[in-house]
């Protein structure tokens, strides 16, 4: 059994246990302990503010992987009504690592695709830890093409350490599936909002992250490679992932500074898993804001904007232009 709380959460959990103990005693002995409890609640908030105002990159990675962290279907359940999940790539199988379907969000019908992790051991296997196989990306592509045909905007939720890593995935063309998904998303004539809700690593993430807006939850991370894999390559030692996670600049703040995302969606104090309702409300509001803005654009403006959004990303010296790239701001 996995420990359900992170080490960094221990001070909070300690106070919570104290509060629970006092409440229990108060109940049995019929005493009014509300002042004491209020003081502890106050302290808990202080401790949380202190902890979460200064998370290290590695701590953020742990938050993004928190065993209680909400997954795509949790957000879909909290945000949407009329969720209809569609299945299968019509050629080989149905990949549990990707969910895809249609739902109603603030009255508007949208397509939602998302990496889906499993909560327990069995579901984790079934869903391959949210790591998409070729057939998952092809299912997503099929649903996204359908969305474009019927003029439904697309919400893509990213939460994966990467694409499926297996001989089977290679045999069925995971490279091609990732590449084709990007090509497809670059030409779909409906708004696409991407949200990194947990982990966003490598080709498995960018495969479904080519949108008009890319948003990130506060404690999510976004990286070209998982810290463990990077540490393996650099030091032949995955245990040095913590060290590497700082060097890779993978936090939401980093991503914003690098111009790779438009907006950070703040999480409730203590993280998304402590308040799914609050988190979903913030997520829903952010999606709504960006969707409304995008819906004002013509299909041509939309495609041009999406192309230019990624076109300008990169950091290099070009003597032909006065300053370096990267959104015009030197890093």
């Amino acid at each position: 059994m996995l420990s359900r709380w992170l080490h960094l959460e221990q001070p909070i959990v300690d106070i919570e246990e104290q509060i629970d103990e006092i409440k229990r005693l108060a109940a049995t002995e019929n005493l009014d302990q509300s002042t004491k409890i209020n003081r502890l609640e106050e302290r808990k908030r202080d401790v949380m503010r202190r902890i979460f105002s200064d998370l290290s990159p590695w701590e953020r990675v742990q938050m993004a992987r928190h065993p209680k962290r909400p997954y795509s279907l949790d957000y879909i359940g909290a945000l949407c009504s009329d969720w209809v999940e569609l299945h299968g790539d019509r050629a080989f199988g149905d990949d549990g690592a990707i969910v895809a379907g249609f739902a109603r969000l603030n009255g508007r019908s949208v397509a939602v695709i998302g990496n889906q992790k499993g909560r327990d051991t069995k579901e984790r296997q079934l869903r391959n830890f949210g790591q998409p196989s070729p057939e998952g990306l092809r299912k997503a592509g099929r649903v996204m093409e359908m969305a474009a045909r019927f003029g439904r905007p697309i919400i893509s939720l990213i939460d994966t350490q990467g694409a499926a890593c297996s001989p089977a995935a290679e045999e069925r063309g995971i490279s091609e599936a990732i590449a084709h998904s990007q090509l497809l998303m670059s030409r779909l004539k409906v708004p696409i909002i991407v949200v990194i809700i947990g982990e966003g690593c490598s080709g498995g993430a960018i495969a479904t992250a080519l949108g008009d807006r890319v948003l990130m939850l506060e404690h999510a991370y976004y990286s070209v490679i998982s810290p463990e894999a990077c540490a393996s390559i650099l030091f032949r030692d995955p245990a040095r992932a913590a060290e590497v996670s700082g060097q890779l600049k993978i936090t939401a703040d980093d991503a914003l500074r690098l111009g790779v995302i438009e907006e950070i969606i703040p999480e409730p104090l203590g993280g998304a898993h402590r308040d799914l309702k609050g988190m979903s409300a913030a997520l829903g509001a952010a999606i709504e804001k960006h969707l409304s803005a995008l819906e004002a654009l013509s299909p041509e403006e939309l495609l041009e904007g999406r192309y230019q959004r990624f076109r300008k990303l990169g950091d290099l010296d070009d003597p032909q232009v006065a300053t370096a790239h990267l959104n015009g701001t030197p890093v």
Binding site: A179, A209, V260, G314
Partner: protein, 272 residues
């Protein structure tokens, strides 16, 4: 006298090579007379092993009248990533290039084309901002000038030292292919050893036709990583061009000596 494969450019004038110079085939261990080996475009006459080529060599054996584009673009260090600058400097000295990607205009049998090749000797041919920008400009300029596009990849994938900037090049280059495709200009992707990870999972897989060299390793996750993660042992030919062909992932495998002719034929069939 044994010569390292890298030291001998295919383009070097053959008469200057001493007749006693030999090159060892890493696949079958045969000692090849270097002059013959160069005439064979750096392939082994015995086992037909295809040695890696540098980007300039690659373009030289495939095209005429090469004129480089965007040579001036130079990498930066967006993450201030440890060891990135010294590694890159060493690669620049080794290859004489600013980064791992060479691109430009050329002709094949008098047909104007746009072509790019990555150089494995420059940090494993990895794709960072300069690589991605040059590929994107290649597709955009080809679109403007109505040229078909050829790319020849030899790469380990995205350059992790540029972090998210590298990841974004996957999206950027894939979107550039999409625009070329919509304008009905052909793109032929030539997969040489190795063509992996972030590059194979973006523009390199999106050719109208995928042509591989014999024995080239092609895939997403490297065999060693899969073996470690799953604690399994993979067959030796896993991810070889022949393996990918059997799994429907590539169109054809063409020996280096016939590559130029095949490309010219394909372009003619798609355009004339």
């Amino acid at each position: 006298m044994v010569m390292s494969p890298e030291a001998a450019p295919v383009a070097a004038r053959l008469e200057e090579i001493p007749a006693n110079l030999v090159t060892k085939c890493p696949s079958c261990n045969t000692m090849l007379v270097t002059k013959d080996w160069l005439r064979d475009l750096k392939t082994c006459a015995r086992c037909s092993h295809h040695f890696r080529l540098g980007a300039r060599e690659r373009i030289a054996i495939l095209t005429e009248n090469f004129e480089e584009w965007d040579a001036e673009l130079a990498p930066r260090d967006p993450l201030q990533f440890p060891e990135y600058l010294p590694k890159r400097n060493a690669a620049q000295i080794k290859t004489g290039a600013k980064d791992s990607m060479l691109s430009g205009a050329a002709t094949i049998e008098n047909r104007p084309i746009a072509i790019a090749a990555s150089d494995f000797d420059f940090m494993g041919g990895s794709m960072g901002s300069v690589f991605g920008e040059k590929i994107t400009r290649l597709f955009e300029r080809a679109l403007d000038e109505k040229r078909p596009v050829l790319t020849a990849t030899s790469t380990g994938g995205a350059r992790m030292q540029e972090g998210l900037m590298s990841l974004m090049q996957m999206a950027k280059t894939s979107a550039a292919v999409a625009r070329l495709r919509e304008e009905r200009l052909p793109f032929i992707s030539i997969l040489t050893d190795p063509s992996m990870a972030g590059v194979q999972a973006s523009f390199a897989s999106l050719g109208d036709v995928l042509v591989a060299e014999p024995g080239a390793m092609i895939g997403f996750t490297g065999a060693r990583v899969i073996e470690q993660n799953l604690r399994i042992k993979l067959p030796k030919d896993f991810q070889s061009a022949e393996f990918q062909m059997a799994h429907g992932q590539i169109d054809m495998i063409v020996p280096r000596a016939k590559l130029k002719e095949s490309l010219a034929q394909l372009l003619s069939l798609l355009l004339d």
